[in-house]
Structure formats: structure tokens, C-alpha cells
């Protein structure tokens, strides 16, 4: 209620008194933080001003006529209705303006398409409804193991459903941002796992579709360290509005250290497969995995909803354990159920399957170990 009142107050104040301090009245594109984004901003402003000038001239003549050439003022209609010279002029002049506009646009476009000589390569895969970033081998990192991670929305459902105050980066926060070094040319290789997504960071002026079966390329070079935020911009289903893009640009040393830590963590993750797990450990780990990977469709409490089946006491999670593993690892073709075998580690797969078989009253007491999952995937 208070929020309503405040908002309405801000709105009225903003409209009537134009008090920008109360609200964010951003009206124009941001020039961004890369050379490309600055060029794009310049193109945008040029074409905008051209439109404004043409608009002022055309509407100027029109409003002058509306004002002066009224019947109520006793104005008598003229009789002209054709003039070839004028017609030719107002065909040629706009054409010339367009040619002038096309030249810088072409130059910028050619520059944006030049993805050669990248120093960091990151494979970006769109999933319903999160991003996966995999850091590929590059000059200087040959022989190092590759690593990657998922980037999920970290805004809580309580904020979305208005049960809690929304924080400053509402809907624009993720658990694991993409980290890139400043001053390096970063190339993204974009694809998607299910439907078409689109990766956009306004401050880089980079927007490219991530399409299943295709690899698209874009590049950017950030000079200022900082956190840059964007969103998925191609309708990709239910949670299209809830898969933000966050990029953290850091100094090179920091980046190298970060990458080394992640490589080490990836190595540890692989070791987890060999570890001996207890049911409790798996359930505990599985709860977290379920929340990030499964809850969006099957619900926080496994009750499903719409086309997504319930996991509470249903045969899939209480009966044949191999069939359960098959569904989680390989997905169900022709439905929205994805193959998680390539998305999650063996430890996470085992944990989430075990969790589903023991949560919400599905007390089967059964468990799957990471080793069994590993064997299943490699049989």
C-alpha cells in the first residue's frame, strides 16, 4: 500500500514538477563503454537528428497550413495539384540523405563483423532459462583444462511476488556473472540448447541470437572495469523475462587469478565423482541443484504446474530408478524436459536424483552415487 502511494506520488511529482531526483527518467540510449557502442550511439544520434530536422520542416509547413489556411478564416483554396519539379526534388533529396547515412552505418557494421584475432573465447549457450558460459582454450592457456558454469537469475521469488522489497538490481542479478579481462578482445560463440535466445548487453551494443544448431559470433573489448547488465531479448518461453546477462570486466591479473581458481574448482568437481557419498550428503547437495535447475518448471515443492508434471509421489520418482536416471540425463524428446547429462556434473546429477526420490514425502530411501551416474553415462 505504501509503495503504491509513494509510486503515485513520485509519478505525479515527476510529471508535474519534472523532478528527476525522485525517479529514473532515462530517455535515451546509453553511449556505452566500448568503441563499438560509441559508434552505434553516434549513428543513433545522427539518424535521430536527421529525423527531427525533417520532422520540424514537414510538420512546420503542415501546422502553418492548419493555422493559416482554414475555412473559418475565410481562406480560399488554391487550385494547384501537380508540380513535376517539386516531385522530383522531394524524391532526390531524401535519397541523398539516405546515402549519406548509409556510409557510416556500413563502416560500423563491417567493423562489428570482424571477429578475428580474439584473445579470449567464450562459448555462450542459451538454456530455458539461464545462460551457460564455457571458457575455451586460447593462446597462452593451451593445455589448461577448459571450464564453464551456469549463470542463473539470483533475484528471489519473494521479490518477484512482492513479498519483499526489491533490491536495486532487481531481475538483473545472477549467481555467476561472466568475467572478462579489460582491454582484451573477447569473442563470444553463441548457440542454444532448446529454443532461440538472444544475448544482449546494451552498454556493449552487442545483441546476437543464440540459435540451436548454429554458432554465431560477436566480439567486444571493454576498457573500463565494471559490472554491465543486460537481458535475454528473444522470447524463449515462460521465464524469458527472468534470464539476465551480467558481465564483470576486471583487470587482467584479477581475471587470470579468477580463471585459475575456476579451473581448480572444475578439477575438484571431477574428483567428487570418485568420493563416497552418504544419502544425507546427496540430499543436501541435491536440494540446491533442484532449486537452480528444476524448480522453474517443476515448482519449488515438486508439484509441477501446467504442462510440467508433478514429482510428488509420481511413479517416475518412486519406481524404477534407472528410468528416472534416463529422464534426467537424456531428457524426454519432444517435450520441454532437457537432457541434463551435459549440463550438470555427475555429483550434481546423482544428488538431484537422490533428492527427488527422498523429498516431499517421496521417502524411498534410495540413492544413486556419482559413480553410478558416471558409469550410466559411459556405458
Amino acid at each position: 500500500m505504501h509503495v503504491h502511494v509513494k509510486r503515485a506520488g513520485a509519478l505525479i511529482a515527476g510529471t508535474l514538477l519534472s523532478a528527476p531526483a525522485l525517479a529514473d527518467w532515462t530517455m535515451n540510449m546509453s553511449p556505452g563503454v566500448t568503441e563499438t557502442s560509441n559508434q552505434v550511439f553516434d549513428l543513433h544520434m545522427t539518424i535521430l537528428w536527421i529525423c527531427v530536422v525533417i520532422g520540424v520542416v514537414v510538420f512546420g509547413v503542415m501546422f502553418w497550413s492548419i493555422f493559416a489556411h482554414r475555412k473559418s478564416k475565410g481562406h480560399q483554396p488554391a487550385h494547384f495539384h501537380e508540380n513535376t519539379v517539386v516531385e522530383i526534388l522531394w524524391t532526390i533529396i531524401p535519397f541523398a540523405i539516405l546515402v549519406i547515412m548509409a556510409i557510416p552505418a556500413t563502416a560500423t557494421l563491417v567493423d562489428m563483423y570482424d571477429t578475428t584475432e580474439a584473445e579470449v573465447d567464450i562459448k555462450v549457450t542459451g538454456y530455458q532459462w539461464r545462460w551457460r558460459y564455457e571458457y575455451l582454450e586460447n593462446p597462452g592457456t593451451e593445455g589448461d583444462p577448459e571450464f564453464g558454469f551456469f549463470s542463473n537469475l539470483s533475484t528471489s521469488r519473494d521479490e518477484i511476488y512482492n513479498r519483499m522489497d526489491k533490491n536495486e538490481n532487481y531481475l538483473l542479478d545472477v549467481d555467476n556473472p561472466m568475467v572478462v579481462p579489460v582491454g582484451k578482445k573477447v569473442r563470444l560463440l553463441l548457440t542454444a540448447n532448446d529454443v532461440i535466445h538472444s544475448w544482449w548487453v546494451p552498454e556493449f551494443a552487442i545483441k546476437k541470437d543464440a540459435i540451436p544448431g548454429f554458432i554465431n559470433e560477436v566480439w567486444f573489448k571493454v576498457d573500463e572495469p565494471g559490472i554491465y547488465r543486460g537481458q535475454c531479448t528473444e522470447l524463449c518461453g515462460k521465464d524469458h523475462g527472468f534470464m539476465p546477462v551480467v558481465v564483470e570486466a576486471v583487470p587482467e591479473e584479477e581475471y587470470t587469478q579468477w580463471a585459475a581458481n575456476l579451473r581448480e574448482a572444475a578439477e575438484k568437481e571431477r574428483e567428487l565423482t570418485q568420493k563416497d557419498w552418504t544419502l544425507e550428503e546427496l540430499v543436501e547437495r541435491g536440494e540446491g541443484v533442484y532449486a537452480t535447475s528444476c524448480a522453474a518448471c517443476h515448482g519449488d515443492d515438486g508439484s509441477g504446474g501446467g504442462p510440467f508434471p508433478s514429482l510428488r509421489g509420481t511413479p517416475v520418482v518412486t519406481e524404477d530408478i534407472d528410468a528416472h536416471m534416463d529422464i534426467v540425463v537424456n531428457g524426454v524428446s519432444g517435450t520441454a524436459m532437457q537432457a541434463f547429462g551435459s549440463q550438470l556434473s555427475e555429483a550434481d546429477l546423482a544428488a538431484v536424483i537422490t533428492y527427488e526420490r527422498n523429498a516431499w514425502g517421496n521417502n524411498t530411501g534410495e540413492m544413486v552415487t556419482p559413480k553410478e551416474v558416471f558409469d550410466y553415462k559411459n556405458q
Partner: protein, 528 residues
């Protein structure tokens, strides 16, 4: 079959049949025109109420009223119903009523097909709307229904949606054939092509566009049907298919489609502005050529909707240049309208108000269209609210205001009664303010980075969204006033209309009495 309505000494003709059969079995172009217009207005209210749900949810950040799943169904159905149910049938309705009257023909060339093409529409839309009540909900993948979201990941109701699209396509193609046959064969003696009224010209070109692209739409939905139900993989990458192919085929239909929705409005405005400026249309011939040029170019620009899918740079450049070229003939049209107003003797009744607003606001939509054509800048605009602002500026004050202008202009001819001018002006001003309040802030939202088709948004977008919603509610409620004005006029409450109620109007339609008798031009008039 009685001869009740016939008081115009044409007693060898019969009047309308009695009761429901008049409407079910009619082959009269005026009856069918009225049915199209009424149907389209009903769809306009239905699609509009879905827009109200969308704007209510977007009034504030956070999820309040609907879940994302249903929100997506609303955006999808709103788009489909407005495009295929409101705008297109409204123009077909205007064509039915006015084309025979304008070319001096007794009826449309193919009257039985005319009846059939109308009655297919309620069937198609009944099926489309029924998907809202099906298991898994209505289509939720946007009116552009990109694969594989609409195929592999679509709800079960998608097949019904495909069938509905097929039926609408059949209806549109039959309507288009009828328009072409009427215009090419049934013009009054002496009416050469270059003497045809512009509404007739724009509809002739629109009809050819329809015949060219509706089969393409039918093709793309058939491929979807095969992918969903018969195991093919046209658009499924996992089966060797190509999701981008869908977009190429869809937009090859989709771009001409947007001109299908605007060209007849160009025609309407080209009648109304000269009538109320009391001055002949400036540059008739160049108007005709400009419409032709726009129609031809519309086949060469489809990939500007796909600048971000990763087409090769030469493709990108070609589609950028071709798209920019469209600004030239469109500019010519705007300049001609302004030159027509220049040094005229203008009055501002409702049709003129809507037409002047059309010229101004459509031009603003054209400007943002030109900005969108610049491929590098489009990377920033693409799929944001800037695009939503752009196409609503083209379609609401473009197509919809064009339809309102036409309705007020010809209502006296249809009903024999003048509409209530004060109420009509109120309708105009409320629509004008509401529409700008709703859609202008969307430009800012898009530039600031708000993607389209999202049920919830980051906090910095909150203020403009609230303004936009207020404008949308205002625009929405105002349309009930239009219903009231038309009903009042149709019931004969108002001044009696003369055969030619507008001082500066020209054309054969004003030579028959108001209301236009059930049968007109049994003997063709002579055009000099």
C-alpha cells in the same frame, strides 16, 4: 422475399431477406461489408481487452495479476487478434462497402464467394479463441510464433492455432481475388485505371500483396504442422532442420503483411484530406506510383526483422539499403498530403482530425522505422520496447486511425444519418492523447534497455511503464465511446444526411442517396 426496403423506383429488385437468413445467406456487398466491420470491431474490443491485461500487469514491477505463462498467451493472442481479426477484416469491410460504390459497380464481382469468405472468419476466430480454454493454454510464443518455441516447445493447442491461420488465409485470399476481379472488370465506363479513386488503387495493390504472401504464411504453418504431428524436422536442428528458415519464410509473409495493413489506410486518407481541404489531391500519379513502389520493395526487405540472427554481412548490407529505400516513396506520400493541405480551405471534422493525426503520427512511426533500418543501431533497438513503440505508432494511428477516419467519413452514406460531431471529436482527442501517452514513453523504455515480451521488469523502467499503462487504459475505455456514437448514428438519432454531406468530397459514392439503397448502380454511371 419482400420488396419493403425498395423505395427508389427500382422495383424489379428485391430488398433484403427477413431475419437471420438475411445475414447468413446474403450476397449483398453492403450487408457483407457491415458484417465485416462489426466483426472487426468486436475483435478490436477483444484484442484490446487482452492489451489491458498486459498493461495492468506492467503497471508496476513484480508479478501482481497474471503469471508469466498467461502473460505470454495474452501478448500472443493480442497480436494475432489485432492483425488478423481487427485490422485486416476492417479494411475488407470498407472495401466491400465502398469499392462497388466508388467504381460504379452494382456489387462485388463474386458475391457468393464474398459471403463464404466472411463466414469463414467467425469460424476461424472461434477456434483461435477457444485455445484459451484448452489444456496447456493458448499459443504463448508471440504473434511471430518462432520455431522451435512454437513447434517442439509449443502447447498442444498449437495445432488448432495452425488450422485457424489456414482458414483465415483462405478467407483473405478469396477476399483479395474478389477485390481484384471487381476492380479490373466492373469499373464504370470511362473510369480508366489512372482515374480510379486512390482507395481503389491502394486496395488493388493490397489485394495482389495478399495473394502473393498468404500462401507463404500457409506454407510456413503447414511446415510447423508437419514438425509437430508428422515427425518432420523443417525447423528442428536436432533432426537436421533450420530454425532460421522459419524466420525467413515467416517474414517473407510478414513484411508485406504490414503494408497490407497500412496501404488501404493511405487510400482513405488520400480521399479525406482533399475533401476537407477543399482542394484536389496533390500529385495523384506520384501517389499511385509510390504505393506501387512500396509494395514492390516490401518483398525485398524481410530480413531487416532478422538483423540479429547472424546473416552474412553482405545480406545484412543489402537488407539495410533496401529498407532505407522504402523511406523515399513513403516520404513522397507524406509530402503530397502536406502539399494538399497547403493553401487549402480546411475544416476539421472528425474524419479530418483522424487523418491529420494519421499523417503526423504515422510519420513518427516512419522515422523510428528508418532508425530501425540502420543495422548497427538496430542491434540496440531490436526486440526492445523501441520496436513495440515503432509498430504501434504505425498500426494504431496508422491503420486504426485510418479506419476511424473512414468510418466517420462514410457513416452518413451507410446510415443516412450524421454522427454526433461533438462526441466524435471527443473520441478523437481522448484516443489521440491516450495513444500517445501509451506508446510514446515506450521509445524511451526501449532505448533505456527494456526488452519486449517480458511480464516483469527492472526498477529503472517503472515510471514510464506506469504512464504507458495509464495511457493504454484511457485509449481502451475511449473506444466504447466509438461504439456508442456508431450505434446512435445507425439507429437514426441525428441529423439526416444529404447525398453528399461533405462540401469538398468527390467520387461516385456521393452520387447515390444517403443511406445508400440496398442496390446501387444497376445502370453504370458515365465517368468523364
Amino acid at each position: 422475399m419482400s420488396a419493403v426496403a425498395d423505395t427508389h423506383a427500382q422495383d424489379h429488385h428485391h430488398g433484403p431477406a427477413k431475419g437471420i437468413t438475411r445475414w447468413l445467406l446474403t450476397t449483398n456487398h453492403k450487408d457483407i461489408g457491415s458484417m465485416y466491420l462489426i466483426f472487426s470491431f468486436a475483435m478490436f474490443l477483444l484484442g484490446g481487452s487482452m492489451a489491458m491485461v498486459i498493461r495492468a500487469e506492467l503497471f508496476q514491477p513484480g508479478l501482481q495479476i497474471v503469471e508469466p505463462e498467461f502473460f505470454n498467451q495474452m501478448t500472443t493472442m493480442h497480436g494475432l487478434i489485432m492483425v488478423f481479426g481487427a485490422v485486416m477484416p476492417a479494411f475488407v469491410g470498407l472495401a466491400n462497402w465502398m469499392l462497388p460504390l466508388m467504381v460504379g459497380a452494382p456489387d462485388m464481382a463474386l458475391p457468393r464467394m464474398n459471403n463464404w469468405s466472411f463466414w469463414l472468419l467467425p469460424a476461424a476466430f472461434l477456434m483461435l479463441v477457444s485455445t484459451l480454454f484448452m489444456q496447456g493454454g493458448a499459443p504463448n510464443f508471440g504473434w511471430t510464433f518462432y520455431a522451435p518455441l512454437s513447434t517442439t516447445y509449443g502447447p498442444p493447442s498449437t495445432t488448432f492455432f495452425i488450422f485457424a491461420i489456414h482458414i483465415m488465409g483462405v478467407s483473405s485470399i478469396m477476399g483479395a481475388i474478389n477485390v481484384i476481379a471487381t476492380i479490373l472488370n466492373m469499373r464504370a465506363p470511362g473510369m480508366t485505371l489512372m482515374k480510379m479513386p486512390l482507395f481503389v488503387w491502394t486496395w488493388l495493390i493490397t489485394a495482389f500483396l495478399l495473394i502473393a504472401v498468404m500462401p507463404v504464411l500457409a506454407g510456413v504453418v503447414t511446415m510447423m504442422l508437419m514438425d509437430i504431428n508428422f515427425g518432420t524436422s523443417f525447423f528442428d536442428a536436432a533432426g537436421g532442420g533450420d530454425p532460421v528458415l522459419f524466420q525467413h519464410v515467416f517474414w517473407f509473409f510478414g513484411h508485406p503483411e504490414v503494408y497490407i495493413m497500412i496501404l488501404p489506410a493511405f487510400g482513405v486518407v488520400s480521399h479525406i484530406i482533399p475533401a476537407f481541404a477543399r482542394k484536389k489531391l496533390f500529385g495523384y500519379a506520384s501517389m499511385v506510383y509510390a504505393v506501387g513502389a512500396i509494395a514492390l520493395l516490401s518483398f525485398l526487405v524481410w530480413a531487416h526483422h532478422m538483423f540479429t540472427v547472424g546473416i552474412p554481412i553482405f545480406g545484412q548490407l543489402f537488407f539495410m539499403y533496401a529498407t532505407m529505400l522504402i523511406a523515399v516513396p513513403t516520404g513522397v506520400k507524406v509530402f503530397n498530403w502536406v502539399a494538399t493541405m497547403f493553401r487549402g480551405s480546411m475544416t476539421f471534422e472528425a474524419p479530418m482530425l483522424f487523418s491529420v493525426a494519421f499523417v503526423i503520427l504515422f510519420t513518427i512511426g516512419g522515422f523510428s522505422g528508418l532508425m530501425l533500418a540502420i543495422a548497427p543501431a538496430d542491434f540496440q533497438y531490436h526486440d526492445t520496447y523501441f520496436v513495440v513503440a515503432h509498430f504501434h505508432y504505425v498500426l494504431v494511428p496508422g491503420a486504426i486511425f485510418g479506419i476511424f477516419a473512414a468510418a466517420y467519413y462514410w457513416l452518413p452514406k451507410w446510415t443516412g444519418t450524421m454522427y454526433d460531431e461533438t462526441l466524435a471529436k471527443t473520441h478523437f482527442w481522448l484516443s489521440f492523447i491516450g495513444m500517445n501517452l501509451a506508446f510514446f514513453p515506450m521509445h524511451f523504455l526501449g532505448l533505456a534497455g527494456m526488452p519486449r515480451r517480458i511480464p516483469d521488469y527492472a526498477l529503472q523502467f517503472a515510471d514510464f511503464n506506469m504512464i504507458s499503462s495509464i495511457g493504454a487504459f484511457m485509449f481502451g475505455v475511449t473506444q466504447l465511446l466509438f461504439l456508442f456514437i456508431v450505434v446512435k448514428c445507425a439507429r437514426g438519432h441525428g441529423e439526416k444526411a444529404a447525398a453528399k454531406p461533405w462540401e469538398g468530397a468527390e467520387g461516385l459514392e456521393w452520387t447515390v442517396p444517403s443511406p445508400a439503397p440496398y442496390h446501387t448502380f444497376a445502370t453504370p454511371p458515365e465517368v468523364k
